[in-house]
């Protein structure tokens, strides 16, 4: 399903987080939003999810205005930077949560839920860990559980907010490749927020660079590589690609 933002603005007090943003993600596409801290990329994601309400503009999911829908009715899957797993539930129950809270009429039977969860555990390669608690898992494992939990409700759109930001470099690399493979497999429309443009270029079909609440540029990784002319863009992409001296590489978090 597609996601489209039409002239969306959002302010927090004096701070303008989103400044008249319009952009579109096509069905089955994986788009990455990159930009430094405070550029509005997380806010954009939260507005799409319904966790924040925009002050102006329209968010359309599959062509339909999402304004009347709360975050629970938008059929989105949201993955948080710090996983936000339910700490008192096992991995299995975490993944089953979205199905168990459905109204009785729409709720699948127990056996069906078990089947779905088992399939998802397999998909995220954690078959053996369904009985563990989140605190007993590594960061990378926790993030895969979070992803499985988001996928369990069969979302129309998957929103990932810095999903690998809290992980060490090696795990981050593995997981992003794995995410790309997963996306090719399940083909769900995905928006990925990251401050790492290398990650964005490697994983996404298209990359949108955000700066001060606006989308500075949007295109495929190749297009952006060529797309010079914008001084901010050059410095930002340059920095995260490590063309400046790597030890001084600016990490925006």
């Amino acid at each position: 399903m597609s996601v489209a933002l039409d002239r969306v603005s959002k302010r927090f007090g004096e701070f303008t987080a989103l400044d008249d943003v319009s952009f579109r993600v096509d069905e089955g596409e994986l788009v990455a939003l990159v930009g430094p801290s405070g550029s509005g990329k997380s806010t954009l994601l939260r507005v799409v999810a319904g966790l924040e309400r925009q002050d102006a503009g329209v968010v359309r999911i599959h062509g339909e205005d999402a304004a009347p829908l709360g975050p629970g009715d938008r059929r989105i899957g949201f993955v948080f930077q710090h996983y936000a797993l339910f700490r008192h539930m096992t991995v299995f129950e975490n993944i089953a949560f979205g199905l168990r809270v459905r109204p009785r009429r729409e709720r699948p039977a127990g056996a069906e839920i078990t089947g779905v969860v088992k399939d998802l555990l397999q998909l995220v390669e954690l078959d053996a860990l369904g009985g563990r608690y989140p605190s007993e898992l590594s960061g990378g494992q926790q993030q895969r559980v979070a992803l499985a939990r988001a996928l369990a409700v069969q979302p129309r759109v998957l929103l990932l907010d810095e999903p690998f930001g809290a992980l060490d470099a090696r795990v981050r690399k593995q997981l992003r490749q794995w995410l790309r493979t997963l996306h090719d497999e399940v083909k769900v429309t995905t928006v990925l927020v990251t401050h790492d443009s290398e990650e964005a270029c490697e994983v996404a079909d298209r990359v949108a660079v955000m700066h001060e609440g606006r989308i500075a540029q949007i295109g495929t990784a190749a297009e952006l590589g060529r797309g010079a002319g914008n001084p901010f863009l050059e410095s930002f992409l340059g920095e995260s690609r490590g063309t400046t001296s790597p030890p001084n590489r600016v990490n925006y978090h």
Binding site: S42, L51, F78, F86, V101
Partner: protein, 308 residues
């Protein structure tokens, strides 16, 4: 945007890792003698200020023998005081649990205006002497008080009734649950709730399945504190109750009356009941915690057996 340095050991309640253990070992690296001396001082302190008084209460209560004790605690006025104390706690504690949860939820999970004011207000009963609280109630609800004429016109009596005792107790015990929950819920943040809402959970489902399990131990502790205070409250209740013997006297008030009448056996017998109530409360808390941990350990064991 969230900062990331450590992969959230604190937010996610990860068990203390090896580093913490090393740290603890280093921190207790004093000589054995110093360690024993410290433990000895702590134990002596506990004994003098907690153990001894408790012992004296029971010793005095049983000084004239079991029969005298039995007679003292089956005295109708004392039984009435005991029942009233339990009744007051049974009303005040649930109400303040509801208030505490609602206030903590509003302050930490919602975006409420005036949250500082709300926190300060919830703290007020801790800052004000209970006697003053009692006097304030009299100023409001007494015959000469603000609402006095209105209450009289509607034939409602509050001052010197059980209602006044309940109201004063609610006021005095108001902060305990909220105070326990606010820092806890603040630390836990809102991301689990946000995750639940994106997964389609309703407000009630979020509270019951996500928030409540995360706060239950803090809540339990708050309830224990609230209950202890509700049953033991003296100052405010003393003022508003009018101390009508056999009607508005709670157990603490009754104990003081007996003591002032030099009826020491009865006074300490009643005190022993109050002490027993406290012990029962603490034991109940302990048992709840233990059964929970046992259940959790059992589940983990079963999983490991299944896994192997």
């Amino acid at each position: 945007m969230a900062t990331t340095i450590v992969p959230g050991a604190r937010q996610h309640g990860l068990p203390p890792g090896p580093r913490t253990q090393v740290h603890t070992a280093a921190a207790t690296n004093e000589s054995a003698l110093a360690r024993r001396a410290l433990i000895g001082v702590a134990l002596a302190y506990l004994f003098v200020f907690l153990g001894l008084p408790l012992y004296v209460v029971f010793q005095e209560a049983f000084r004239r023998g079991l029969a005298a004790y039995a007679a003292a605690i089956s005295e109708p006025e004392l039984l009435h005081a005991l029942r009233l104390t339990l009744l007051v706690a049974a009303i005040a504690v649930p109400l303040n649990v509801l208030f505490g949860i609602a206030a903590a939820w509003a302050i930490t999970k919602g975006r409420v205006r005036g949250r500082t004011l709300l926190i300060a207000l919830a703290d007020l009963p801790l800052a004000v002497s209970p006697v003053i609280a009692g006097l304030t109630f009299m100023l409001l609800f007494g015959m000469q008080g603000w609402f006095g004429p209105w209450l009289r016109a509607h034939d409602i009596r509050i001052a010197f009734t059980v209602t006044a005792v309940v109201l004063a107790t609610i006021f005095v015990t108001l902060p305990f649950v909220a105070r326990e929950l606010i820092p806890l819920m603040e630390e836990q943040g809102v991301t689990e709730e946000e995750a639940a809402v994106t997964l389609g959970a309703s407000g009630w489902q979020i509270f019951r399945r996500v928030t409540a399990p995360n706060i239950r131990w803090g809540l339990l502790y708050g309830i224990v504190l609230c209950n202890a205070r509700a049953m033991g409250e003296f100052g405010a209740v003393s003022v508003v109750s009018g101390r009508i013997r056999g009607q508005t006297t709670t157990l603490p008030l009754h104990i003081e009356i007996l003591y002032n009448e030099y009826d020491f056996t009865a006074a300490f017998a009643a005190s022993s009941l109050l002490a027993l109530l406290a012990v029962v409360t603490l034991a109940a808390k302990h048992l709840l915690e233990r059964s929970h941990h046992a259940a959790r350990a059992r589940i983990i064991q079963e999983q490991e057996e299944k896994g192997s």
